[in-house]
Protein backbone atom coordinates (compact mmCIF):
# COMPACT_ATOMS: atom_id res chain seq x y z
CA UNK A 1 0.00 0.00 0.00
CA UNK A 2 1.34 3.40 -0.92
CA UNK A 3 0.29 6.76 -2.23
CA UNK A 4 2.56 6.30 -5.22
CA UNK A 5 1.12 4.92 -8.41
CA UNK A 6 3.87 2.28 -8.33
CA UNK A 7 3.44 1.36 -11.98
CA UNK A 8 6.34 -0.96 -12.80
CA UNK A 9 7.43 0.80 -15.98
CA UNK A 10 10.97 -0.57 -15.47
CA UNK A 11 9.71 -4.16 -15.64
CA UNK A 12 7.50 -3.42 -18.64
CA UNK A 13 10.35 -1.54 -20.37
CA UNK A 14 12.75 -4.42 -19.68
CA UNK A 15 10.49 -6.90 -21.48
CA UNK A 16 10.25 -4.58 -24.49
CA UNK A 17 14.03 -4.03 -24.38
CA UNK A 18 14.75 -7.77 -24.34
CA UNK A 19 12.33 -8.32 -27.24
CA UNK A 20 14.20 -5.66 -29.25
CA UNK A 21 17.70 -6.83 -28.35
CA UNK A 22 16.95 -10.51 -28.94
CA UNK A 23 15.03 -10.04 -32.18
CA UNK A 24 17.17 -11.85 -34.75
CA UNK A 25 19.68 -12.80 -32.03
CA UNK A 26 17.77 -15.55 -30.23
CA UNK A 27 16.80 -18.72 -32.13
CA UNK A 28 13.36 -18.55 -30.47
CA UNK A 29 12.69 -15.85 -27.87
CA UNK A 30 9.57 -17.34 -26.29
CA UNK A 31 8.01 -17.37 -22.83
CA UNK A 32 10.49 -19.87 -21.37
CA UNK A 33 13.48 -18.01 -22.81
CA UNK A 34 12.12 -14.73 -21.38
CA UNK A 35 11.92 -16.28 -17.89
CA UNK A 36 15.46 -17.58 -18.09
CA UNK A 37 16.94 -14.37 -19.52
CA UNK A 38 15.38 -12.29 -16.74
CA UNK A 39 16.61 -14.83 -14.19
CA UNK A 40 20.15 -14.67 -15.58
CA UNK A 41 20.05 -10.86 -15.65
CA UNK A 42 18.89 -10.75 -12.04
CA UNK A 43 20.83 -13.59 -10.46
CA UNK A 44 23.96 -13.97 -12.60
CA UNK A 45 24.49 -10.33 -13.55
CA UNK A 46 23.17 -8.75 -10.35
CA UNK A 47 20.45 -6.48 -11.73
CA UNK A 48 17.47 -6.42 -9.39
CA UNK A 49 14.41 -6.58 -11.61
CA UNK A 50 11.99 -7.14 -8.73
CA UNK A 51 11.15 -10.77 -9.45
CA UNK A 52 11.18 -13.73 -7.08
CA UNK A 53 12.00 -17.03 -8.79
CA UNK A 54 11.10 -20.58 -7.84
CA UNK A 55 12.10 -23.82 -9.53
CA UNK A 56 9.47 -25.16 -11.94
CA UNK A 57 9.44 -27.80 -14.66
CA UNK A 58 11.85 -25.92 -16.92
CA UNK A 59 13.97 -24.14 -14.33
CA UNK A 60 13.61 -20.84 -12.42
CA UNK A 61 10.24 -19.20 -12.96
CA UNK A 62 8.22 -16.24 -11.66
CA UNK A 63 4.56 -16.00 -12.69
CA UNK A 64 4.73 -12.19 -12.41
CA UNK A 65 6.89 -12.10 -15.53
CA UNK A 66 4.00 -13.64 -17.48
CA UNK A 67 1.61 -11.21 -15.84
CA UNK A 68 3.80 -8.29 -16.91
CA UNK A 69 4.16 -9.82 -20.37
CA UNK A 70 0.37 -9.92 -20.75
CA UNK A 71 0.15 -6.21 -20.05
CA UNK A 72 3.12 -5.36 -22.25
CA UNK A 73 1.49 -7.28 -25.09
CA UNK A 74 -1.85 -5.57 -24.46
CA UNK A 75 -0.33 -2.08 -24.72
CA UNK A 76 1.63 -3.03 -27.85
CA UNK A 77 5.12 -3.29 -26.36
CA UNK A 78 5.55 -6.78 -27.79
CA UNK A 79 3.75 -9.12 -30.13
CA UNK A 80 3.42 -12.78 -29.24
CA UNK A 81 3.07 -15.30 -32.04
CA UNK A 82 2.64 -19.03 -31.90
CA UNK A 83 5.83 -20.49 -33.26
CA UNK A 84 5.83 -22.46 -36.47
CA UNK A 85 8.90 -24.40 -35.35
CA UNK A 86 8.45 -28.17 -34.83
CA UNK A 87 8.68 -27.79 -31.04
CA UNK A 88 5.78 -25.33 -30.96
CA UNK A 89 5.75 -22.65 -28.27
CA UNK A 90 5.74 -18.89 -28.73
CA UNK A 91 7.86 -16.14 -30.23
CA UNK A 92 8.03 -12.72 -28.59
CA UNK A 93 8.86 -9.87 -30.94
CA UNK A 94 8.97 -6.07 -30.48
CA UNK A 95 5.57 -4.42 -30.85
CA UNK A 96 4.66 -0.99 -32.24
CA UNK A 97 4.82 0.57 -28.75
CA UNK A 98 8.14 -1.02 -27.73
CA UNK A 99 10.02 2.27 -27.89
CA UNK A 100 7.36 4.05 -25.85
CA UNK A 101 7.82 1.50 -23.02
CA UNK A 102 11.62 1.66 -23.31
CA UNK A 103 11.39 5.43 -23.05
CA UNK A 104 9.25 5.16 -19.89
CA UNK A 105 11.94 2.92 -18.37
CA UNK A 106 14.93 4.85 -19.64
CA UNK A 107 16.13 5.79 -16.16
CA UNK A 108 16.61 2.07 -15.51
CA UNK A 109 17.59 0.82 -18.96
CA UNK A 110 20.15 3.56 -19.58
CA UNK A 111 21.83 3.19 -16.22
CA UNK A 112 25.43 2.26 -17.02
CA UNK A 113 25.42 -0.89 -14.87
CA UNK A 114 22.14 -2.12 -16.37
CA UNK A 115 23.28 -1.37 -19.93
CA UNK A 116 26.51 -3.31 -19.46
CA UNK A 117 24.63 -6.22 -17.90
CA UNK A 118 22.15 -6.31 -20.79
CA UNK A 119 25.02 -6.22 -23.31
CA UNK A 120 26.66 -9.17 -21.57
CA UNK A 121 23.35 -11.04 -21.19
CA UNK A 122 22.71 -10.90 -24.92
CA UNK A 123 26.32 -11.69 -25.80
CA UNK A 124 26.61 -14.69 -23.45
CA UNK A 125 23.18 -16.23 -23.70
CA UNK A 126 21.22 -14.54 -26.48
CA UNK A 127 22.02 -17.14 -29.16
CA UNK A 128 21.12 -20.11 -26.93
CA UNK A 129 18.01 -22.25 -27.26
CA UNK A 130 15.48 -22.30 -24.40
CA UNK A 131 16.72 -25.78 -23.44
CA UNK A 132 20.29 -24.51 -22.97
CA UNK A 133 19.05 -21.49 -21.00
CA UNK A 134 17.03 -23.85 -18.82
CA UNK A 135 20.12 -25.87 -17.98
CA UNK A 136 22.33 -22.88 -17.19
CA UNK A 137 19.71 -21.09 -15.10
CA UNK A 138 18.90 -24.33 -13.24
CA UNK A 139 22.59 -24.89 -12.43
CA UNK A 140 22.82 -21.37 -10.99
CA UNK A 141 19.55 -21.79 -9.09
CA UNK A 142 20.60 -25.11 -7.55
CA UNK A 143 24.03 -23.74 -6.59
CA UNK A 144 22.42 -20.74 -4.89
CA UNK A 145 19.94 -23.02 -3.15
CA UNK A 146 22.75 -25.25 -1.86
CA UNK A 147 24.65 -22.23 -0.59
CA UNK A 148 21.58 -20.77 1.13
CA UNK A 149 20.90 -24.15 2.77
CA UNK A 150 24.43 -24.11 4.19
CA UNK A 151 25.60 -26.97 1.96
CA UNK A 152 29.02 -27.01 0.35
CA UNK A 153 28.73 -26.34 -3.38
CA UNK A 154 31.02 -28.99 -4.84
CA UNK A 155 31.23 -29.74 -8.54
CA UNK A 156 30.09 -33.34 -8.03
CA UNK A 157 27.34 -32.45 -5.55
CA UNK A 158 25.94 -29.81 -7.89
CA UNK A 159 26.13 -32.15 -10.86
CA UNK A 160 24.29 -34.91 -8.97
CA UNK A 161 21.51 -32.59 -7.82
CA UNK A 162 20.94 -31.10 -11.28
CA UNK A 163 21.03 -34.57 -12.84
CA UNK A 164 18.49 -35.77 -10.29
CA UNK A 165 16.20 -32.84 -11.02
CA UNK A 166 16.71 -32.81 -14.77
CA UNK A 167 17.31 -36.37 -15.96
CA UNK A 168 16.77 -35.22 -19.54
CA UNK A 169 20.22 -33.56 -19.52
CA UNK A 170 23.20 -35.88 -19.85
CA UNK A 171 26.03 -35.99 -17.35
CA UNK A 172 28.28 -34.42 -19.97
CA UNK A 173 25.88 -31.56 -20.75
CA UNK A 174 25.57 -30.63 -17.07
CA UNK A 175 29.31 -30.92 -16.52
CA UNK A 176 29.98 -28.63 -19.48
CA UNK A 177 27.46 -26.04 -18.26
CA UNK A 178 29.00 -26.01 -14.77
CA UNK A 179 32.47 -25.66 -16.27
CA UNK A 180 31.38 -22.84 -18.55
CA UNK A 181 29.58 -20.90 -15.81
CA UNK A 182 32.46 -21.21 -13.38
CA UNK A 183 35.07 -20.23 -15.98
CA UNK A 184 33.08 -17.12 -16.76
CA UNK A 185 32.84 -16.21 -13.10
CA UNK A 186 29.09 -16.76 -12.66
CA UNK A 187 29.50 -19.73 -10.36
CA UNK A 188 31.82 -20.64 -7.50
CA UNK A 189 32.29 -24.36 -6.98
CA UNK A 190 34.70 -26.29 -4.83
CA UNK A 191 36.45 -29.20 -6.47
Amino acid sequence: MSVEAGIPWNRYGLIAELACRLDGESPQFGKTALQKMVYLLQEALGIDCGYHFQLYSYGPFDARILQDLDLVEYVGGVEIHQSESPGGGYEIRPGPQANMLREKAKGFLQDEKVKKALDRLVREWGPLMARDLELRSTVLYVARDMKESGDQVTREGLLDLVRNLKPKFSHEEIKTAIQELSEKGFLEVES
Partner: protein, 444 residues
Protein backbone atom coordinates in the same frame (compact mmCIF):
# COMPACT_ATOMS: atom_id res chain seq x y z
CA UNK B 1 -13.17 -36.16 16.12
CA UNK B 2 -14.49 -39.71 15.79
CA UNK B 3 -12.21 -42.69 16.32
CA UNK B 4 -12.79 -45.54 13.88
CA UNK B 5 -11.46 -49.03 13.32
CA UNK B 6 -8.20 -49.69 11.62
CA UNK B 7 -7.99 -50.12 7.83
CA UNK B 8 -5.99 -52.81 6.09
CA UNK B 9 -3.29 -50.37 4.89
CA UNK B 10 -2.18 -49.55 8.44
CA UNK B 11 -0.53 -51.87 10.96
CA UNK B 12 -3.16 -53.26 13.37
CA UNK B 13 -2.16 -51.07 16.30
CA UNK B 14 -2.77 -47.87 14.34
CA UNK B 15 -5.97 -45.99 14.85
CA UNK B 16 -7.65 -43.80 12.31
CA UNK B 17 -9.69 -40.71 13.03
CA UNK B 18 -12.30 -38.98 10.93
CA UNK B 19 -13.11 -35.29 10.99
CA UNK B 20 -16.32 -34.16 9.35
CA UNK B 21 -15.74 -31.58 6.64
CA UNK B 22 -18.36 -29.46 4.84
CA UNK B 23 -16.67 -29.93 1.44
CA UNK B 24 -15.18 -33.40 1.42
CA UNK B 25 -17.40 -35.32 3.84
CA UNK B 26 -14.79 -36.90 6.07
CA UNK B 27 -11.08 -36.17 6.34
CA UNK B 28 -9.24 -39.26 7.62
CA UNK B 29 -6.17 -38.98 9.87
CA UNK B 30 -3.80 -41.37 11.58
CA UNK B 31 -2.36 -40.99 15.09
CA UNK B 32 0.78 -39.25 13.90
CA UNK B 33 -1.19 -36.66 11.95
CA UNK B 34 -3.52 -36.20 14.90
CA UNK B 35 -0.54 -35.35 17.12
CA UNK B 36 0.64 -32.83 14.55
CA UNK B 37 -2.83 -31.29 14.43
CA UNK B 38 -2.92 -31.14 18.23
CA UNK B 39 0.34 -29.17 18.28
CA UNK B 40 -0.24 -25.55 19.42
CA UNK B 41 1.27 -24.20 16.18
CA UNK B 42 -1.35 -26.07 14.16
CA UNK B 43 -4.18 -25.20 16.56
CA UNK B 44 -3.26 -21.55 15.93
CA UNK B 45 -4.75 -22.01 12.45
CA UNK B 46 -8.17 -22.14 14.10
CA UNK B 47 -7.50 -18.49 14.90
CA UNK B 48 -6.49 -17.43 11.38
CA UNK B 49 -9.43 -16.78 9.13
CA UNK B 50 -9.05 -18.04 5.60
CA UNK B 51 -10.09 -14.74 4.03
CA UNK B 52 -9.13 -12.10 6.58
CA UNK B 53 -11.78 -9.40 6.78
CA UNK B 54 -13.73 -10.59 3.73
CA UNK B 55 -16.64 -11.09 6.14
CA UNK B 56 -17.06 -7.29 6.08
CA UNK B 57 -18.55 -7.83 2.62
CA UNK B 58 -19.54 -11.52 2.64
CA UNK B 59 -20.67 -12.33 6.20
CA UNK B 60 -20.27 -16.08 5.71
CA UNK B 61 -16.53 -15.82 5.16
CA UNK B 62 -15.55 -16.75 8.71
CA UNK B 63 -13.92 -20.12 8.01
CA UNK B 64 -10.32 -20.70 8.99
CA UNK B 65 -6.97 -21.95 7.72
CA UNK B 66 -7.48 -24.94 10.04
CA UNK B 67 -10.25 -26.55 8.03
CA UNK B 68 -8.60 -25.55 4.76
CA UNK B 69 -5.35 -27.28 5.77
CA UNK B 70 -7.22 -30.50 6.50
CA UNK B 71 -8.98 -30.17 3.15
CA UNK B 72 -5.71 -29.69 1.26
CA UNK B 73 -4.24 -32.82 2.85
CA UNK B 74 -7.35 -34.76 1.87
CA UNK B 75 -7.35 -33.56 -1.76
CA UNK B 76 -3.57 -33.92 -2.21
CA UNK B 77 -3.84 -37.53 -0.98
CA UNK B 78 -6.68 -38.32 -3.36
CA UNK B 79 -4.65 -36.84 -6.21
CA UNK B 80 -1.56 -38.85 -5.23
CA UNK B 81 -3.54 -42.07 -4.89
CA UNK B 82 -5.25 -41.61 -8.26
CA UNK B 83 -1.93 -41.04 -10.00
CA UNK B 84 -0.24 -44.01 -8.34
CA UNK B 85 -3.14 -46.37 -8.84
CA UNK B 86 -3.38 -45.53 -12.51
CA UNK B 87 0.31 -45.17 -13.33
CA UNK B 88 2.09 -47.44 -10.87
CA UNK B 89 3.85 -49.41 -13.59
CA UNK B 90 4.95 -46.23 -15.31
CA UNK B 91 6.30 -44.80 -12.04
CA UNK B 92 8.27 -47.97 -11.42
CA UNK B 93 9.54 -48.75 -14.90
CA UNK B 94 10.01 -45.27 -16.39
CA UNK B 95 10.86 -43.23 -13.30
CA UNK B 96 12.55 -45.89 -11.19
CA UNK B 97 10.24 -45.73 -8.18
CA UNK B 98 10.17 -48.63 -5.72
CA UNK B 99 7.16 -49.52 -3.58
CA UNK B 100 8.85 -48.03 -0.51
CA UNK B 101 9.55 -44.73 -2.35
CA UNK B 102 5.89 -44.35 -3.19
CA UNK B 103 4.79 -45.06 0.38
CA UNK B 104 7.27 -42.55 1.73
CA UNK B 105 6.38 -39.86 -0.80
CA UNK B 106 2.69 -40.33 0.01
CA UNK B 107 3.40 -39.55 3.67
CA UNK B 108 5.59 -36.59 2.70
CA UNK B 109 2.83 -35.20 0.46
CA UNK B 110 0.26 -35.54 3.27
CA UNK B 111 2.46 -33.80 5.82
CA UNK B 112 3.46 -30.99 3.46
CA UNK B 113 -0.16 -30.44 2.42
CA UNK B 114 -1.30 -30.41 6.04
CA UNK B 115 1.41 -27.92 7.04
CA UNK B 116 1.50 -25.73 3.92
CA UNK B 117 -0.18 -22.79 5.72
CA UNK B 118 1.29 -23.36 9.20
CA UNK B 119 3.22 -20.08 8.91
CA UNK B 120 0.33 -17.96 7.72
CA UNK B 121 0.17 -14.43 9.09
CA UNK B 122 -2.91 -13.03 10.84
CA UNK B 123 -5.61 -11.41 8.73
CA UNK B 124 -4.60 -13.62 5.84
CA UNK B 125 -2.60 -12.24 2.91
CA UNK B 126 -3.03 -8.61 3.99
CA UNK B 127 -0.14 -9.00 6.44
CA UNK B 128 2.38 -10.38 3.97
CA UNK B 129 3.72 -6.96 3.06
CA UNK B 130 4.86 -6.72 6.69
CA UNK B 131 7.19 -9.67 6.35
CA UNK B 132 10.81 -8.52 6.47
CA UNK B 133 13.53 -8.98 3.84
CA UNK B 134 16.34 -11.51 3.98
CA UNK B 135 20.01 -10.65 3.72
CA UNK B 136 19.78 -10.51 -0.08
CA UNK B 137 16.99 -7.92 0.10
CA UNK B 138 14.22 -10.36 -0.88
CA UNK B 139 11.01 -10.30 1.08
CA UNK B 140 10.18 -13.44 3.04
CA UNK B 141 6.97 -15.14 1.96
CA UNK B 142 4.47 -17.00 4.12
CA UNK B 143 5.94 -20.21 2.68
CA UNK B 144 9.26 -19.28 4.29
CA UNK B 145 7.47 -18.89 7.62
CA UNK B 146 5.71 -22.25 7.12
CA UNK B 147 9.07 -23.90 6.45
CA UNK B 148 10.60 -22.18 9.50
CA UNK B 149 7.73 -23.29 11.78
CA UNK B 150 8.18 -26.86 10.54
CA UNK B 151 11.96 -26.73 11.06
CA UNK B 152 12.12 -24.88 14.36
CA UNK B 153 8.91 -25.72 16.19
CA UNK B 154 7.47 -28.97 14.83
CA UNK B 155 10.62 -31.04 14.44
CA UNK B 156 9.92 -33.29 17.41
CA UNK B 157 6.30 -34.07 16.54
CA UNK B 158 7.29 -34.84 12.92
CA UNK B 159 10.50 -36.79 13.43
CA UNK B 160 10.00 -38.73 16.64
CA UNK B 161 6.63 -40.38 16.20
CA UNK B 162 6.84 -44.20 16.11
CA UNK B 163 5.02 -44.23 12.77
CA UNK B 164 7.96 -42.35 11.25
CA UNK B 165 10.42 -45.16 11.97
CA UNK B 166 9.76 -46.79 8.61
CA UNK B 167 9.98 -43.50 6.64
CA UNK B 168 12.66 -41.46 8.45
CA UNK B 169 11.05 -38.25 7.22
CA UNK B 170 12.76 -35.19 8.67
CA UNK B 171 11.32 -31.76 9.38
CA UNK B 172 13.75 -30.48 6.78
CA UNK B 173 12.25 -32.81 4.16
CA UNK B 174 8.81 -31.30 4.80
CA UNK B 175 10.17 -27.74 4.86
CA UNK B 176 12.11 -28.34 1.63
CA UNK B 177 8.99 -29.73 0.00
CA UNK B 178 7.15 -26.51 0.90
CA UNK B 179 9.86 -24.19 -0.40
CA UNK B 180 10.78 -26.35 -3.38
CA UNK B 181 14.39 -26.81 -2.23
CA UNK B 182 16.33 -28.72 -4.84
CA UNK B 183 17.89 -31.28 -2.47
CA UNK B 184 14.59 -33.20 -2.48
CA UNK B 185 15.42 -34.35 -5.98
CA UNK B 186 12.89 -36.74 -7.51
CA UNK B 187 10.30 -36.21 -4.74
CA UNK B 188 9.87 -32.66 -6.07
CA UNK B 189 7.68 -34.22 -8.78
CA UNK B 190 4.90 -34.38 -6.20
CA UNK B 191 5.29 -30.76 -5.17
CA UNK B 192 2.85 -29.91 -7.96
CA UNK B 193 0.13 -31.43 -5.76
CA UNK B 194 0.67 -28.61 -3.25
CA UNK B 195 1.97 -25.83 -5.48
CA UNK B 196 0.90 -25.62 -9.13
CA UNK B 197 -2.01 -24.52 -11.29
CA UNK B 198 -3.89 -27.73 -10.46
CA UNK B 199 -2.80 -28.09 -6.86
CA UNK B 200 -4.80 -29.29 -3.88
CA UNK B 201 -4.54 -25.83 -2.31
CA UNK B 202 -6.63 -24.07 -4.94
CA UNK B 203 -8.70 -27.20 -5.54
CA UNK B 204 -9.80 -26.89 -1.91
CA UNK B 205 -10.03 -23.13 -1.36
CA UNK B 206 -12.17 -22.45 -4.43
CA UNK B 207 -14.85 -24.91 -3.26
CA UNK B 208 -14.53 -24.03 0.43
CA UNK B 209 -14.63 -20.25 -0.06
CA UNK B 210 -17.62 -20.56 -2.42
CA UNK B 211 -19.44 -22.73 0.11
CA UNK B 212 -18.92 -20.39 3.06
CA UNK B 213 -19.43 -17.14 1.16
CA UNK B 214 -22.52 -18.42 -0.58
CA UNK B 215 -21.45 -17.97 -4.20
CA UNK B 216 -21.19 -20.49 -7.03
CA UNK B 217 -18.25 -18.85 -8.83
CA UNK B 218 -15.61 -21.21 -7.43
CA UNK B 219 -17.35 -24.47 -8.22
CA UNK B 220 -15.88 -26.94 -10.70
CA UNK B 221 -15.81 -30.71 -11.18
CA UNK B 222 -13.27 -31.93 -8.62
CA UNK B 223 -14.18 -35.60 -9.02
CA UNK B 224 -13.60 -35.52 -12.78
CA UNK B 225 -10.31 -33.76 -12.27
CA UNK B 226 -9.16 -36.34 -9.74
CA UNK B 227 -9.89 -39.40 -11.85
CA UNK B 228 -8.00 -37.93 -14.79
CA UNK B 229 -4.81 -36.98 -12.96
CA UNK B 230 -1.68 -38.71 -14.23
CA UNK B 231 2.09 -38.64 -14.38
CA UNK B 232 3.97 -38.60 -17.66
CA UNK B 233 7.17 -37.58 -19.41
CA UNK B 234 6.78 -34.41 -21.43
CA UNK B 235 8.27 -33.53 -24.80
CA UNK B 236 11.48 -32.25 -23.19
CA UNK B 237 12.00 -35.49 -21.26
CA UNK B 238 10.93 -34.15 -17.85
CA UNK B 239 8.61 -36.13 -15.56
CA UNK B 240 5.46 -34.06 -14.95
CA UNK B 241 2.11 -34.31 -13.23
CA UNK B 242 -0.53 -34.09 -15.93
CA UNK B 243 -4.22 -34.33 -16.58
CA UNK B 244 -5.50 -36.87 -19.08
CA UNK B 245 -7.22 -35.65 -22.23
CA UNK B 246 -10.60 -36.55 -20.71
CA UNK B 247 -10.01 -34.13 -17.86
CA UNK B 248 -8.89 -31.07 -19.78
CA UNK B 249 -12.30 -29.42 -19.58
CA UNK B 250 -12.39 -30.10 -15.84
CA UNK B 251 -8.99 -28.38 -15.67
CA UNK B 252 -10.38 -25.45 -17.68
CA UNK B 253 -13.29 -25.40 -15.21
CA UNK B 254 -10.92 -24.92 -12.30
CA UNK B 255 -8.99 -22.15 -14.08
CA UNK B 256 -12.23 -20.32 -14.91
CA UNK B 257 -13.55 -20.83 -11.36
CA UNK B 258 -10.41 -19.18 -10.04
CA UNK B 259 -10.77 -16.28 -12.49
CA UNK B 260 -14.38 -15.80 -11.37
CA UNK B 261 -13.56 -15.98 -7.67
CA UNK B 262 -10.80 -13.42 -8.00
CA UNK B 263 -12.73 -10.93 -10.09
CA UNK B 264 -16.03 -11.34 -8.19
CA UNK B 265 -14.86 -11.97 -4.62
CA UNK B 266 -11.17 -11.59 -3.79
CA UNK B 267 -10.75 -8.40 -5.87
CA UNK B 268 -14.11 -6.89 -4.79
CA UNK B 269 -13.42 -3.20 -4.13
CA UNK B 270 -14.59 -3.00 -0.50
CA UNK B 271 -12.84 -6.26 0.38
CA UNK B 272 -9.63 -4.85 -1.06
CA UNK B 273 -10.09 -1.69 1.04
CA UNK B 274 -10.17 -3.86 4.16
CA UNK B 275 -6.92 -5.54 3.11
CA UNK B 276 -5.33 -2.09 3.10
CA UNK B 277 -6.87 -1.14 6.45
CA UNK B 278 -5.75 -4.48 7.94
CA UNK B 279 -2.21 -3.91 6.74
CA UNK B 280 -2.09 -0.41 8.23
CA UNK B 281 -3.63 -1.52 11.53
CA UNK B 282 -1.10 -4.35 11.79
CA UNK B 283 1.70 -1.95 10.97
CA UNK B 284 0.64 0.22 13.89
CA UNK B 285 0.50 -2.80 16.20
CA UNK B 286 3.89 -4.10 15.08
CA UNK B 287 5.53 -0.72 15.57
CA UNK B 288 4.00 -0.49 19.07
CA UNK B 289 5.19 -3.98 19.92
CA UNK B 290 8.88 -3.07 19.54
CA UNK B 291 9.23 -5.39 16.58
CA UNK B 292 10.97 -3.32 14.01
CA UNK B 293 13.24 -4.61 11.28
CA UNK B 294 15.41 -2.36 9.16
CA UNK B 295 13.74 0.69 10.63
CA UNK B 296 10.17 -0.27 9.84
CA UNK B 297 7.35 -2.23 11.39
CA UNK B 298 7.69 -5.88 10.47
CA UNK B 299 7.25 -9.41 11.77
CA UNK B 300 10.40 -11.04 13.15
CA UNK B 301 12.35 -12.81 10.37
CA UNK B 302 11.91 -16.61 10.23
CA UNK B 303 15.55 -17.26 10.97
CA UNK B 304 15.62 -18.57 14.56
CA UNK B 305 13.36 -20.49 16.90
CA UNK B 306 12.72 -17.53 19.19
CA UNK B 307 11.68 -15.38 16.21
CA UNK B 308 9.34 -18.08 14.94
CA UNK B 309 7.78 -18.46 18.39
CA UNK B 310 7.29 -14.68 18.61
CA UNK B 311 5.72 -14.71 15.14
CA UNK B 312 3.31 -17.49 16.12
CA UNK B 313 2.02 -15.31 18.94
CA UNK B 314 0.33 -13.24 16.24
CA UNK B 315 -3.10 -14.51 15.25
CA UNK B 316 -6.48 -12.96 14.38
CA UNK B 317 -7.73 -13.16 17.97
CA UNK B 318 -4.78 -11.14 19.25
CA UNK B 319 -5.02 -8.58 16.46
CA UNK B 320 -8.80 -8.19 16.77
CA UNK B 321 -8.46 -7.89 20.54
CA UNK B 322 -5.94 -5.08 20.13
CA UNK B 323 -8.16 -3.41 17.53
CA UNK B 324 -11.10 -3.72 19.94
CA UNK B 325 -8.95 -2.18 22.70
CA UNK B 326 -8.24 0.82 20.48
CA UNK B 327 -4.54 0.05 20.09
CA UNK B 328 -4.43 -0.18 16.30
CA UNK B 329 -4.67 3.49 15.44
CA UNK B 330 -6.86 5.15 12.84
CA UNK B 331 -7.15 2.04 10.65
CA UNK B 332 -8.07 -0.11 13.63
CA UNK B 333 -10.94 2.27 14.33
CA UNK B 334 -12.02 2.11 10.69
CA UNK B 335 -12.20 -1.68 10.95
CA UNK B 336 -14.04 -1.59 14.26
CA UNK B 337 -16.64 0.85 12.97
CA UNK B 338 -16.71 -0.47 9.38
CA UNK B 339 -16.08 2.98 7.96
CA UNK B 340 -13.72 2.03 5.19
CA UNK B 341 -12.11 4.37 2.67
CA UNK B 342 -13.79 4.70 -0.71
CA UNK B 343 -12.63 3.85 -4.18
CA UNK B 344 -12.77 6.98 -6.34
CA UNK B 345 -11.07 5.66 -9.44
CA UNK B 346 -10.39 2.22 -10.89
CA UNK B 347 -8.69 1.29 -14.13
CA UNK B 348 -10.17 -1.43 -16.31
CA UNK B 349 -9.00 -4.95 -15.41
CA UNK B 350 -6.47 -4.74 -18.22
CA UNK B 351 -5.37 -1.10 -18.29
CA UNK B 352 -4.01 0.67 -21.36
CA UNK B 353 -0.99 2.96 -21.25
CA UNK B 354 -3.39 5.88 -21.15
CA UNK B 355 -5.18 4.39 -18.10
CA UNK B 356 -1.86 4.00 -16.31
CA UNK B 357 -0.86 7.56 -17.13
CA UNK B 358 -4.26 8.72 -15.86
CA UNK B 359 -3.50 7.08 -12.49
CA UNK B 360 -0.15 8.86 -12.29
CA UNK B 361 -1.66 12.21 -13.20
CA UNK B 362 -4.56 11.87 -10.79
CA UNK B 363 -2.26 10.96 -7.91
CA UNK B 364 -0.04 13.93 -8.70
CA UNK B 365 -3.09 16.22 -8.41
CA UNK B 366 -4.69 14.79 -5.26
CA UNK B 367 -1.78 13.09 -3.54
CA UNK B 368 -2.54 14.67 -0.16
CA UNK B 369 -6.09 13.23 -0.26
CA UNK B 370 -5.20 9.68 -1.36
CA UNK B 371 -5.05 7.15 1.46
CA UNK B 372 -3.88 4.20 -0.60
CA UNK B 373 -3.38 2.88 -4.11
CA UNK B 374 -4.37 -0.74 -4.51
CA UNK B 375 -2.99 -2.97 -7.25
CA UNK B 376 -5.11 -6.09 -7.80
CA UNK B 377 -2.86 -8.26 -9.95
CA UNK B 378 -3.24 -11.86 -10.94
CA UNK B 379 -2.74 -14.03 -13.96
CA UNK B 380 -5.32 -16.76 -14.52
CA UNK B 381 -3.25 -19.03 -16.55
CA UNK B 382 0.48 -19.43 -16.34
CA UNK B 383 2.10 -20.40 -19.61
CA UNK B 384 5.56 -21.75 -20.23
CA UNK B 385 7.06 -23.49 -17.23
CA UNK B 386 3.82 -23.68 -15.28
CA UNK B 387 1.57 -24.73 -18.16
CA UNK B 388 -0.67 -27.71 -17.38
CA UNK B 389 0.51 -30.84 -19.20
CA UNK B 390 -2.25 -32.83 -20.93
CA UNK B 391 -1.60 -36.54 -21.46
CA UNK B 392 -2.95 -37.80 -24.77
CA UNK B 393 -3.62 -41.51 -25.44
CA UNK B 394 -2.47 -42.63 -21.97
CA UNK B 395 -1.07 -46.14 -21.86
CA UNK B 396 -0.96 -46.49 -25.65
CA UNK B 397 2.03 -46.54 -27.94
CA UNK B 398 1.31 -43.04 -29.19
CA UNK B 399 1.07 -41.65 -25.64
CA UNK B 400 2.32 -38.04 -25.64
CA UNK B 401 2.09 -34.80 -23.68
CA UNK B 402 0.85 -31.45 -24.91
CA UNK B 403 0.13 -28.32 -22.90
CA UNK B 404 -3.34 -27.12 -22.01
CA UNK B 405 -2.59 -23.70 -23.50
CA UNK B 406 -1.89 -25.31 -26.89
CA UNK B 407 -5.22 -27.12 -26.79
CA UNK B 408 -7.54 -24.65 -25.07
CA UNK B 409 -8.61 -21.39 -26.66
CA UNK B 410 -10.36 -20.61 -23.38
CA UNK B 411 -7.19 -20.45 -21.29
CA UNK B 412 -5.28 -18.71 -24.09
CA UNK B 413 -7.87 -15.97 -23.97
CA UNK B 414 -7.58 -15.28 -20.24
CA UNK B 415 -5.39 -12.23 -19.83
CA UNK B 416 -3.82 -11.18 -16.53
CA UNK B 417 -5.68 -8.59 -14.49
CA UNK B 418 -3.68 -5.51 -13.45
CA UNK B 419 -6.40 -3.36 -11.94
CA UNK B 420 -5.37 -0.25 -10.04
CA UNK B 421 -7.72 1.49 -7.60
CA UNK B 422 -7.34 4.77 -5.75
CA UNK B 423 -8.95 5.12 -2.32
CA UNK B 424 -9.66 8.22 -0.24
CA UNK B 425 -11.29 8.82 3.18
CA UNK B 426 -15.10 9.21 3.00
CA UNK B 427 -14.75 12.93 3.74
CA UNK B 428 -12.66 13.47 0.61
CA UNK B 429 -14.72 11.26 -1.70
CA UNK B 430 -16.85 13.97 -3.26
CA UNK B 431 -13.98 16.37 -3.84
CA UNK B 432 -11.64 13.83 -5.38
CA UNK B 433 -14.43 12.37 -7.52
CA UNK B 434 -14.91 15.85 -8.96
CA UNK B 435 -11.19 15.99 -9.81
CA UNK B 436 -11.49 12.59 -11.51
CA UNK B 437 -14.39 13.87 -13.66
CA UNK B 438 -12.51 17.03 -14.56
CA UNK B 439 -9.37 15.13 -15.48
CA UNK B 440 -11.41 12.76 -17.64
CA UNK B 441 -12.83 15.72 -19.55
CA UNK B 442 -9.39 17.30 -19.98
CA UNK B 443 -7.88 14.06 -21.29
CA UNK B 444 -10.86 13.43 -23.52
Amino acid sequence: MAEIKDCKEQPPIQKRYEIRDPIHGFVVLNEWEREIIDHPAFQRLRRIRQLGLTEMVYPGATHTRFEHSLGVMHVATRMFDEVVEKREDFLKTELGYQEADLKRDRVLVRLAALLHDIGHAPLSHAAESLMPCNGAGKKYLHTDYSAAVVNHVMRDVIENHPMNRQYAITARDVADFLTGATRLGRSLLWRGLVSSQLDADRADYLLRDSHHIGVAYGKYDLDRLLVTMAVAIDATGSPVLAVEEGGEHAAEGLIIARYMMFTQVYFQHTRRAYDCHSEQALKTLLSRGARSTQGRAAFPPPTARKNVEAYLEWDDWRVMGMIHAGEAGEHGEIIRERKHHRCVYATPEIPSTSDLEFVEELIARVEDKVSFVDRAEESWYKFGDADIPVLLSPGRRDERVRTLSERSAVVRGLKAVNKIRIYVPPAAQERVSAVVQKLRRVRG
